[in-house]
Symmetry: C2
Subunit: 434 residues, 2 copies
Amino acid sequence: MAQGLNETHDPARRSFVESANAPDTDFSIQNLPFGVFKPEIGTPRVGVAIGDQIFDVSAAAKSFDGPAAELARDCGISYLNIPMQRGAAAFSALRLALSRLLSVEHGDRGLRKYLIPMASVQLVKPMTIPNFTDFYASVFHATNTGRAFRPDNPLLPNYKYVPVAYHGRASSVIVSGTPFKRPRGQRKGANEAVPSYGPSRNMDFELELGMYIDTPNKLGEPIPVAKAAEHIFGFCLLNDWSARDVQAWEYQPLGPFLGKNFATTVSPWVVTAEALAPFRIAAFARPSGDPAPLPHLSDAEDQAHGGLDITLEASILTEAMRRAGIAPQRLTQTNFSKVYWTVAQMIAHHTSNGCDLMRGDLIGSGTISGPEKSSWGSLLELTARGSEPIALPSGEKRGFIEDGDEIIFRGFAEKPGFARIGFGECRAIMLPAD
Amino acid sequence: MAQGLNETHDPARRSFVESANAPDTDFSIQNLPFGVFKPEIGTPRVGVAIGDQIFDVSAAAKSFDGPAAELARDCGISYLNIPMQRGAAAFSALRLALSRLLSVEHGDRGLRKYLIPMASVQLVKPMTIPNFTDFYASVFHATNTGRAFRPDNPLLPNYKYVPVAYHGRASSVIVSGTPFKRPRGQRKGANEAVPSYGPSRNMDFELELGMYIDTPNKLGEPIPVAKAAEHIFGFCLLNDWSARDVQAWEYQPLGPFLGKNFATTVSPWVVTAEALAPFRIAAFARPSGDPAPLPHLSDAEDQAHGGLDITLEASILTEAMRRAGIAPQRLTQTNFSKVYWTVAQMIAHHTSNGCDLMRGDLIGSGTISGPEKSSWGSLLELTARGSEPIALPSGEKRGFIEDGDEIIFRGFAEKPGFARIGFGECRAIMLPAD
């Protein structure tokens, strides 16, 4: 078997939970992502997605042995940070045990009582997030956005050396399905002499991948790029909602602040790094002429296998579309393998000055845009800052997000010879400002 | 009595703890700041500074009645977040009770057994800090720094409308007395064709005031400027250490990141907003010609009393000075009343888009520079980016901080007719890079 692959990746394995065997399910028996659900009775606790069901891991703890059993018992809590203390090996053991228990070969044998229909419960934020950092890892996005904010100088000289990032706001990270209000803020239109305070006029999404840290490093002790993967628990979808007019007026010289920190939406299921192992590919190939990464960001193994082939999509569903029963309209489809910096390079850079990462920290990739327009990850890019609105099947047009619009992200990894690994959805409706 | 003043501010009150009556003490009986100490026996817990002693509040809980007693019992924990849930009224009641109990009039009566010499214990970080935000509230600092980074364009057009801020790193906030290593990072000298990764060459301090939030707001619900003061628990000294060369290379377009997040030092004692009530003064008078703050940042009461007359100083003690027994050399003395934006304006701005503040959040003022060179709050400013080094009594010179240097902040409020309210020290030694 290829490096990092094990029995849990076997595409021949099927589950006695029939919905997990559908070719288009996000939650095949090879995926087994972790999340937190709020049951009808009892307190929120950690579960594992399987097809259209949630496996109640802590309730089933006596079905496991050794480290898997210890971890399963820890899953009776409302956030993943405590179970994550058990480490990657325990999660690997639990995934292997689940893969066997939920298989057709093992069969039900009383396990169905631990299955809860996903549609019947609320999924909550899976993690207590001590710190949120957002990168800027797509060179296509950086160039597109740079052009909008700085036409003469789109890509700054540091971009190809520095995996640029900023600190986001941890408090306002919310889970998929939570509506948020259009934020107010200071903005100054091109024809306005002075700024005013009011509802943002240029609301946007940013299509990103999020990563959660499991193993902390000590303050003052950088994580080498070759060790960075050992600190990543798993991945989610992340919408870095942006009030572009507020951002444009505020962002110099200290970066984005109120243009971003009113809300950041994450998907509820955390797809483990292990489940994504079959989809590791070579890192993004830098165009010839680009500088090589500095030595502390360079690792041959990371260059060979540090990319991740994950498809990401964003769709829109307006209020008029909902009323007319029209399906969401896809706005873009992109791929995480197009980012300029690998996940390991982001972690190594973040800690290269000794900054300490904490268990549960969330790291966003930055908007994932590919080279073609059909793969750009924000409306700022797709509509040329609102000037080229997108036509919708309802007859509406959208330059930016309007009140009542829902933005829906999906993500998945697919490859011949392997089962589909999906992320579920990351969606939210923007309500009007008060 | 003037607005906001009560019996605890009475300058005639003296303590049976003799050291609290010294005219130059930071911790008079009128101050009673809260902090967390690690006793020789038992777990870290909340205490109150009085002269050179710490009053062990939870151990003495039976000395109090009502809300003060409830709060005192909560103080047997290693961070202030839990006691802060009791609210400002409970802290006010406890301060009043302490003011009476520790007075000469009340006398010892068995209370001395709750006093622990401050020098005999370790003071730890007083708060679990969910989020750290750093403002840029001194127009003199913004102009000086802007000149260093952007000679043609020092003060950006948004400055007089937007209380500019960015998200800092909560994980790397450390308490006074904790050494930190000179960080490594990417930097590119003016004469270098490409950047390299290595120890920062331009290490600096930033002299700031920090504020802690006690009362959270809900996501989506801004805090009006007139209500902002009700969300502030108290104040500390804050050193926003800065690697200027790393910052200069990385900061565009998303702001400071690795140039700052290796360490931020806070003083251990949190001086309550109540203790500082006598030192409220008019907000900074905007020069004529400056725009008025937008309506959502304007409040007549805040303009009349939203300033705080707090003197802040930074000193340096090099290794050579320590060895030779030379006292620390003062580098600057400034005053918080010189900041362009009031604390209430910072809070109102921060939440004006609905961003939620959490209990224990730390908000830095940004470097507090006054108009004269003697009051500038960083070496970047004081030494013109290292080009005009400062002579020290040891015969050394300093353009930036060198290995083994200790930077020491002090802060205090003084006014005829009132007792001195001090902050204690915020100090740390920079160790060599690994």
